[in-house]
């Protein structure tokens, strides 16, 4: 398939009839209902936002739309006819290209192989190597990654680039509806803007985009219409005029949560800053990059920001003892951090980024998932003091605001947000002096976010130290006492609360010293 074909498609797509519409769509897994009643339509040539908390059914809807799951009831009407896609391939044939939340790429294969993957038949290839290379370049260019070598193995790519690959993969299909499920979370500001430009171009061509995001700014920025899902039901579809953060929050969250949100935003307790918990001394992330110091004290929340792949991840992993910095050392009052093990002994708990692959033990109970890291505390000669373990579990559930049917329920039955809170609770169970968090709010619904904010505030005001890496600037501004901004694998600026706002952060992330009100 080539660009000509896609133009041809878009030409006929200018018909008024909706390109896709859902009629009372329903899906349940056993007793649990993931999608109760979802009805709305996507017009040709519109960018349609789909908003809702995790567990509100967005992902399920998208899986049905892209042929991964069959629906349990209701109708999916595609281009005028009722459609049932048996598998992703069928959906793609029909003209639906999906970018999933998870960056599903193949490390061993080259960028080109990753992007064109699935176009081929079992044996027959539809494109020559030359054509493939050309189209892949083209697709990557639309998200500003034209520089990416088409033959480089994906193993050597940064997370942002990997997500770029998945997006390019979708763009390469001859699509009439592009589905983006939280696909911009890992992209840096620059790449995201390029993507949005492209989306607007596609819209102009009369093609449609279904866009899922937890970032209000993004939704307000590009969505023509927004459909809100709440607990598996489509509660409203707003036009651009009607859309505003407040109304969306109102619609997607039950009232308490909305208030809680404002509450948290309002709350800004001053905390007592205590002694240093850990200090990065003359640390250099790469051999060639500049060394720097950073001290985190009891009772403060220090943010970490930076464009994807500028060394901030490596830095917090060094703090957590997962890797050694090129130069320098991480000091605590219980000695230097040299390994993941002794970081724990020094009281540093680390929350990895990928909940699914690095965090949750799906078949195990909530209790196990909470206490697994701290089991030794409850063991006499290897046997568990179950009563004490359960007590601790109950305490952790309260402390981390987990909503669960019970301690023994399998954690897989919980919503994504609650799983994330369980995951965080596991770190709290270690009774750490410092929490090192790698983007804990990534792809978490608002309610859960608010809870996590509270947990962190509480932890800090109890005299703990928090090092929070986040890709959401608003969040950093909201929570942090200071934000350390990374640029080119080195600490570029530390922005104190007084001058802390999105503009300052962005400026610093792009390495503009003056604008950042730089202070080191």
């Amino acid at each position: 398939m080539s660009v000509a074909a896609t133009n041809h498609l878009s030409a006929e797509a200018t018909a008024p009839a909706p390109i896709a519409s859902f009629r009372a769509l329903r899906r349940n897994f056993g007793e649990t209902i993931a999608l109760a009643d979802c009805s709305f339509a996507i017009e040709p040539g519109e960018i349609h936002a789909l908003v809702g908390e995790n567990g509100s059914g967005k992902s399920t809807l998208i899986k049905i739309l892209s042929g991964i799951l069959p629906q349990s009831g209701g109708e999916l009407v595609w281009n005028g006819q009722v459609a049932n896609f048996d598998n992703p391939r069928a959906a793609q044939k029909a003209g639906i290209a999906t970018v999933f939340q998870e960056t599903l790429v193949l490390d061993q294969l080259s960028v080109r192989d990753n992007v064109v993957l699935g176009l081929d038949h079992l044996f027959r290839r539809v494109l020559s190597n030359a054509e493939e290379t050309r189209l892949v370049r083209q697709a990557l260019d639309t998200i500003g990654m034209a520089t990416l070598g088409t033959e480089t193995p994906v193993a050597a790519l940064s997370l942002a680039q990997r997500q770029g690959v998945t997006i390019a993969r979708a763009l390469l299909r001859p699509w009439r509806l592009l589905v983006l499920d939280e696909s911009t979370s890992a992209l840096d500001v620059d790449a995201r803007d390029r993507l949005f430009e492209a989306l607007r171009r596609f819209r102009a061509e009369g093609r449609s985009i279904l866009f899922v995001s937890h970032r209000m700014d993004e939704i307000l920025d590009i969505a023509d219409r927004s459909t809100v899902l709440r607990s598996g039901r489509s509660v409203a579809t707003l036009t651009r005029g009607q859309t505003s953060t407040e109304t969306l929050l109102e619609l997607m969250s039950t009232h308490e949560e909305a208030e809680a949100a404002e509450g948290a935003v309002a709350a800004k307790i001053r905390r007592a800053i205590g002694a240093p918990v850990f200090e990065a001394k003359r640390v250099a992330i790469r051999a060639e990059s500049a060394a720097f110091d950073l001290t985190v004290r009891a009772g403060e929340i220090v943010g970490i920001a930076g464009l994807e792949g500028h060394g901030q991840v490596a830095f917090i992993e060094a703090i957590a003892g997962l890797r050694r910095p090129a130069r320098g050392a991480v000091e605590t009052e219980r000695g230097a951090v040299t390994s993941f093990g002794n970081a724990a002994r020094a009281g540093i708990a680390y929350l990895p980024r990928e909940r699914k692959t690095e965090g949750i033990f799906a078949p195990l109970s909530v209790l196990d998932n909470l206490t697994i890291a701290a089991l030794r505390r409850f063991s006499h000669f290897g046997l568990l003091a179950e009563a004490r373990r359960r007590a601790e579990g109950a305490r952790l559930i309260k402390q981390s605001h987990v909503v669960a049917p019970g301690l023994t329920a399998p954690v897989a039955a919980l919503s994504g947000g609650n799983q994330q809170k369980v995951f965080l609770g596991r770190q709290l169970a270690l009774r750490p002096r410092a929490l090192v968090l790698n983007d804990p709010m990534r792809g978490v619904d608002l309610g859960a976010k608010q809870d996590i904010y509270k947990i962190l505030e509480q932890f800090a005001s109890d005299g703990g130290a928090v090092l929070l890496l986040s890709t959401e600037l608003a969040e950093l501004c909201l929570l942090c006492d200071r934000v350390a901004v990374f640029h080119n694998h080195a600490l570029f600026a530390v922005i104190g609360r007084e001058s802390l706002d999105a503009q300052a952060l962005i400026a610093a992330m792009f390495g503009q010293a003056a604008a950042a009100g730089r202070q080191l």
Binding site: G30, E31, K63, I68, L69, N87, F100, E102, F340, A344, Y350, P352, T357, E358, G359, I360, F361, A362, P363, L364, D368, I372, A373, A374, L375, R376, S379, G382, L383, L384, E386, R426, L430
Partner: protein, 318 residues
């Protein structure tokens, strides 16, 4: 109905085990009698003891193909040494320790190299067989103390209980294992690292220790099985364990512990052991010859797993 679907994987094996017994008893005259039942119990217990370690390694996300080799080693070492006049109370423990060490090595290697324990244990077992031969030169003169033979005799008694010792040992083993799985640090760690190996290390689970210990347990129990089989055949025979390579595996999986790990448990393997033993008995009872027995066993294993041991579809993993 829904409840049933959820419980199916737990109930089905036991239901089938009972069903098989009833069917066999109906088809084959005199199968219901006491001796037959005791034979069944004895053979199942031998398989059960050999499968215990296998179950735990599989839950943890590993697999132990060295079970037969360790059984063979233990059998030969025990019988030969006793034949040369070494006290069974010295050689017995020594053999079990050897099994534990071999297991520990399996775990250590698989974990430090991060390679499939399937292939590692395959390698170690070839080494073990080689070692047995190199030492015995194929000439295994050995004998077994009577109390071991009685321990695994169909009509053996354990004190006042009309069951051979190995059956009692099996029952104890089940209790110990269920506690180990549910109520011990080791058990929970095993399930966790089987469920999500990527997360285990980050959840502060000492994987190297865990793998070493679990494989050591497997090795030790294989050694025990080896000693029992030495008693059963009252001879030193390196090949004695061969039958247990695939039967232990089938018992675990048919019992309902998926090979991918993180789920299941030893309680289910009990059902697996009975099913396997009953199946072979039924086929022999029907007068099937060697060839037909193999064919049927093959088909039935697959059918049983197909009924309730199925893996989830890709679409459910996304």
């Amino acid at each position: 109905m829904n409840w049933l679907r959820h419980r199916l994987d737990v109930l089905a094996p036991f239901a089938i085990a009972v069903g098989l017994f009833v069917v066999t008893a109906a088809v084959i005259p005199g199968y219901g009698n006491l001796v037959s039942i005791r034979s069944l119990l004895l053979l199942a217990s031998l398989l059960g003891i050999a499968s215990a370690g296998q179950t735990l390694t599989i839950i943890m996300g590993g697999i132990d193909l060295s079970v037969p080799a360790v059984i063979g080693l233990a059998c030969v070492a025990f019988a030969v040494a006793f034949g040369q006049g070494v006290s069974p109370f010295i050689i017995g423990p020594a053999v079990i320790v050897a099994g534990i060490v071999i297991g520990a090595i399996n775990g250590l290697i698989s974990r430090t190299l991060r390679v499939s324990s399937l292939i590692v244990t395959l390698a170690t077992s070839t080494i073990i067989y080689g070692a047995i031969w190199a030492n015995t030169k194929g000439d295994n003169r050995g004998s077994v103390p009577d109390f071991v033979t009685d321990f695994v005799s169909v009509i053996g008694w354990t004190g006042p209980i009309p069951l051979p010792g190995s059956v009692i040992l099996w029952i104890l083993l089940v209790v110990v294992f269920v506690v180990l799985e549910r109520r011990s640090v080791l058990g929970r760690w095993s399930y966790a690292s089987g469920a999500n190996p990527g997360a285990a290390e980050l959840a502060r689970i000492p994987s190297l220790l865990l793998w070493t210990v679990v494989f050591a347990i497997s090795g030790g129990l294989s050694a025990v099985a080896g000693i029992l089989l030495a008693g059963f055949s009252s001879a030193a025979d390196p090949q004695v364990g061969d039958a247990y390579l695939f039967t232990t595996l089938s018992a675990v999986v048919i019992g309902g512990t998926p090979i991918i790990g993180g789920r299941g448990g030893y309680a289910r393997t009990i059902a697996g052991c009975f099913i396997i033993t009953e199946l072979t008995m039924l086929l022999i009872g029907l007068g099937l010859d060697e060839a037909a027995q193999q064919v049927c066993l093959g088909i039935l294993i697959v059918m049983l797993v197909a009924i309730y041991g199925r893996e989830s579809h890709v679409r459910m993993q996304i």
